[in-house]
């Protein structure tokens, strides 16, 4: 290096050039930082938008409108045979009783058309609701009680102000007559806006006002239970074998490649495998939590294995050496020392895997968990559905009220997911050791 000048410039000129370029470089720097900040802002903006959209739609979905009616529980009419059992009550005319009290509240409308409109006010599930009420309070039979009934979904949508009065009558789902009735009931203070009991305790229904997530929630819990019972032992065992015992050979290598490949396979493919193997070949029934749980377990297995291996690797070798040094066998070292120390990390990974499984939809569609099932599943071999699939099904229904119920169900699902993830973070903070 004999030539000390930069591109043939003498040092003074070079210094001038550098000085001149500094402001340009500075503004470039600011622009770059600004780009980064914008990117973060956009990402967070999406998050806010997503949650704001769900919350604004979903929180109203947690509530619905009820109408309070004074029902005269006539024993003769409701329980003709007087045995007070489900069978004998089934012969009772609950609809008639509710209808009478409804007409009374509306000032006894005349004419068939007026009465028909009046009946459209309340949900078709009202007689069932009154029957349950009578079964729970048999002593009330013969007296007059005020009972809350859900209003029909169109009426609910109207009360929320989503159907405008200005719309021509032919174009809206509630008639002028019906609006008159609603106003009348509202004036009497009979209409109330409350936390929806149907949402949490009702099962799948085609009627938006009666639809609930109970069946799906139970199905989700059963499916997750199967999933964790299968995936946790298998995942931990695989991780222990690969980390602590496996010799460096072809088989080990194949297992490791397989695990990485499984982590990359799209979830819907696991569903196809479940359909082909468990349902078509083994002849297991469709839409049962058992098959769903197995499929989800195979899907979450890589997540659990990878995090468990990390947890085992984090246990320092000195612990193993100490145990071996005082005469423990290899297996004793693992079961007495390595596993307990690695457990928090393994549990964290398992919870995260379960959260992933809880939100999964596509593989469960494949094994038929989309069936319309009214009964709450009582065990892992009863047909059922799960929360995300329920959301998927509701999202397809056209009624306005289903949009709110869907968003409400999403809120419940997100609440579960967030609490699971929070539990994982807490667990990690509380139990994790730094060596």
């Amino acid at each position: 290096m004999t030539d000390h000048t930069y591109r043939g410039l003498d040092p003074q000129q070079a210094a001038k050039r550098v000085a001149a370029s500094i402001s340009l470089r500075k503004s470039k720097e600011t622009r770059f930082v600004w780009l980064g900040k914008t990117a973060v802002a956009i990402a967070l903006g999406f998050l806010v938008l997503l949650f704001a959209g769900i919350l604004t739609k979903g929180i109203p979905g947690l509530f619905q409108y009820y109408v309070t009616l004074d029902v005269q529980l006539d024993a003769q009419q409701l329980d003709p045979s007087g045995q007070m059992t489900v069978e004998s009550l089934a012969g009772g005319d609950f609809d008639g009783v509710i209808r009478e009290s409804l007409y009374e509240a509306l000032g006894n409308p005349e004419g068939r058309k007026a009465k028909r409109e009046a009946r459209r006010l309340i949900s078709s599930g009202s007689s069932q609701r009154l029957m349950t009420y009578v079964l729970d309070n048999p002593a009330q039979l013969g007296s007059t009680v005020s009972v809350q009934f859900a209003v029909d979904d169109d009426v609910d949508t109207f009360l929320r102000g989503l159907i405008s009065r200005e719309t021509p009558e032919a174009d809206r789902r509630v008639s002028d007559q019906l609006i008159e009735y609603i106003d009348a009931l509202d004036a009497q203070g009979r209409i109330s806006y409350q936390l929806s009991d149907y949402l949490f305790f009702g099962s799948a229904s085609r009627d938006a006002e009666m639809a609930g997530i109970r069946g799906a929630l139970v199905g989700s819990i059963l499916t997750l239970a199967v999933c964790v019972v299968i995936a946790f032992p298998l995942g931990v065992a695989t991780a222990v074998y690969l980390e602590e015992m496996a010799p460096k050979n072809r088989l080990t290598e194949i297992i490791e490649i397989n695990i990485n490949n499984l982590a990359a396979v799209p979830s819907v493919v696991f569903g196809i495998m479940g359909l082909a193997i468990f349902i078509i070949i083994f002849g297991m029934p469709r839409s049962i939590p058992l098959v769903g749980g197995i499929v989800l377990a195979l899907m979450t297995l890589p997540t659990i294995i990878i995090s468990s291996r990390a947890a085992i690797r984090a246990v320092p070798p000195s612990i193993r050496d100490a145990a071996l040094g005082v005469g423990a066998s290899k297996m004793q070292t693992i079961t007495h020392h390595v596993l307990p120390l690695a457990m928090p990390g393994m549990l964290t990974g398992t919870i995260i895997g379960m959260a992933q499984a809880l939100g999964e939809t596509a593989p469960l569609l494949m094994i038929g968990m989309v069936a319309f099932i009214v009964d709450v599943p009582g065990g892992v071999t009863d047909p059922g559905t799960v929360l995300p699939v329920q959301i998927f099904m509701w999202a397809d229904f056209a009624e306005r009220m289903f949009v709110q119920k869907t968003s409400a169900a999403i809120i419940v699902l997100l609440a579960f997911l967030i609490s699971m993830n929070a539990a994982a973070i807490l667990l990690r903070k509380k139990l994790e050791r730094r060596w």
């Binding site: 074998y241 499984l262 990359a264 396979v265 799209p266 495998m273 998927f392």
Partner: protein, 461 residues
């Protein structure tokens, strides 16, 4: 006993053997004449293992094997027409028989169905008896064999540990079995599909129209079903491309900002917030895309006088992009952090600004990792199902216009396989062929990403 009770019984017997074995070993050891090789609970565990393991294996074999065997036996009752017919006829015949077995009454049935059903019920009862006897015998006698072994010189611990070791190996083989299961289940059905539809028609066909399948069978005509996968792959990659145009700049610049500029406090807040986006279930994204984004895109397009399909690729792609942001940002963040500080320091030492160091030193060093992250993100986008099922259409348009409705591989698979399927129809089988292509695509992308990282990775220090 029913099968679930039988399983319970196995575990109860096993637990009893454990307690008895441990007690006996403890008692003998405390006599003190001999020195026991293994601790008492190993003797108990060994007795429990010899009791539970064979019994459980028998139970599993019986439960899984009996239906397959009965199906085979039931075919003895089938008339000639069914036996000579194709697989559909056999499936229908089996369904008829199983209706009889389960007591589902569809009115009058053929005599052979009734007799096959009766025989099947008889076999079921027999199988129950055999299972009871065999499993209980295995559980009791197996446990007894283990129990008899209890003495001072028996190496119970070594046996238990060897058993555990085999169980661990068995568990790790599940991963291989799953892969084999996936590949075989998809491959077999795909081969059957390719017997009906020539592979070149499927791979290079420009039209996807399986809806006519039923009409063709019923003989009402109306056109032929076509199975060309090109429109779906075009749709898939169109939506993925839209997703990446959102996710790559946002994700990458977020990662750069968080790794190079943000204070630890900001980083500690923003990073978990971004991870939340990754934890949101895809069905929620799908709902959001279908209900909020798609109408918004449509009305925005209409206000500008552009025609937008109500289930446009743009809406699905945008939302999918949001879903992928955390994926790209966290992977890139890792790669950027892995670039050694000394490289940055060297750049600063030469007088470069922070952004110059990032652009000219850090990013080139991190590039292979970032490219791999993007490829992995593509593979995620290609395999993503719920967003496209809910927000993209079903119309298999061969279009590169993001404002058109397109369909994707995954959404077609779901549409075909959800609900009632006909056995053996090319339409049902086509879903498996699509799944095969999907697996090949995602695995190829992953392999590609891995190779890039391997080939261009710099080893620092």
């Amino acid at each position: 006993m029913s099968f679930s009770n039988l399983m319970l019984a196995i575990f109860v017997v096993g637990a009893l053997y454990f307690i008895v074995g441990q007690r006996v070993a403890l008692a003998r050891r405390s006599i003190g004449s001999e020195k026991f090789h293994s601790l008492p609970h190993y003797h108990g565990t060994w007795a429990a293992i010899t009791s539970v393991f064979p019994a459980l294996s028998f139970l599993l074999i019986i439960v899984i094997g009996k239906d397959l065997l009965f199906q085979f036996w039931a075919s003895d009752y089938f008339p000639e027409t069914v036996l000579n017919g194709d697989a559909v006829d056999r499936a229908i015949a089996l369904a008829k028989v199983s209706n009889v077995v389960n007591g589902i009454d569809f009115g009058e049935v053929e005599p052979w169905v009734q007799s096959a059903g009766d025989a099947w019920i008889r076999w079921e009862t027999d199988a129950m008896v055999i299972a009871n006897v065999l499993v209980l015998a295995a559980s009791l006698s197996g446990g007894y064999l283990g129990y008899r072994k209890i003495n001072a010189s028996f190496r119970a611990r070594n046996n238990v540990e060897r058993f555990l070791r085999w169980m661990l190996i068995g568990s790790s083989l599940v991963a291989i079995l799953t892969t084999v299961g996936i590949v075989l289940s998809v491959l077999f059905e795909s081969i059957r599909f390719f017997k009906l539809i020539p592979p070149q028609d499927f791979l290079f066909g420009l039209e996807w129209n399986p809806q006519f399948e039923g009409a063709e069978r019923a003989g009402s005509g109306g056109g032929t079903a076509t199975y060309g996968m090109v429109p779906m792959f075009v749709g898939t990659f169109l939506i993925s491309a839209i997703a990446l145009t959102v996710a790559v700049p946002v994700g990458l610049f977020s990662a750069i900002y968080l790794a190079e500029y943000a204070t630890p406090r900001v980083r500690g807040i923003v990073k978990p917030l971004l991870e939340i986006l990754a934890g949101v279930p895809t069905v929620v994204y799908g709902f959001f895309a279908a209900l909020t984004v798609a109408p918004f895109v449509k009305s925005l397009g209409e206000s500008m006088g552009i025609e937008v399909a109500s289930e446009s690729a743009l809406a699905a792609g945008l939302v999918m992009g949001v879903m992928i942001i955390p994926f790209i940002s966290s992977l890139s963040d890792d790669v950027i952090n892995a670039v050694p500080q000394s490289l940055r320091d060297a750049a600063y030492g030469l007088g470069s600004t922070r952004s110059e160091a990032v652009r000219q030193v850090v990013l080139p060093a991190a590039l292979p990792g970032i490219v791999a992250a993007v490829i992995l993100a593509v593979s995620r986008a290609v395999g993503e199902t719920m967003i496209v099922v809910m927000a993209a259409g079903l119309a298999a348009n061969l279009s590169f216009n993001p404002l058109d409705a397109v369909t994707t591989v995954t959404s077609q698979i779901v549409t075909i396989l959800v609900g009632d399927q006909e056995f053996e129809s090319a339409k049902t089988l086509s879903a498996f062929a699509l799944a095969l292509m999907l697996i090949i695509t995602t695995l190829a992308l992953n392999y590609f990403a891995l190779q890039i990282v391997k080939k261009y990775r710099e080893q620092y220090d």
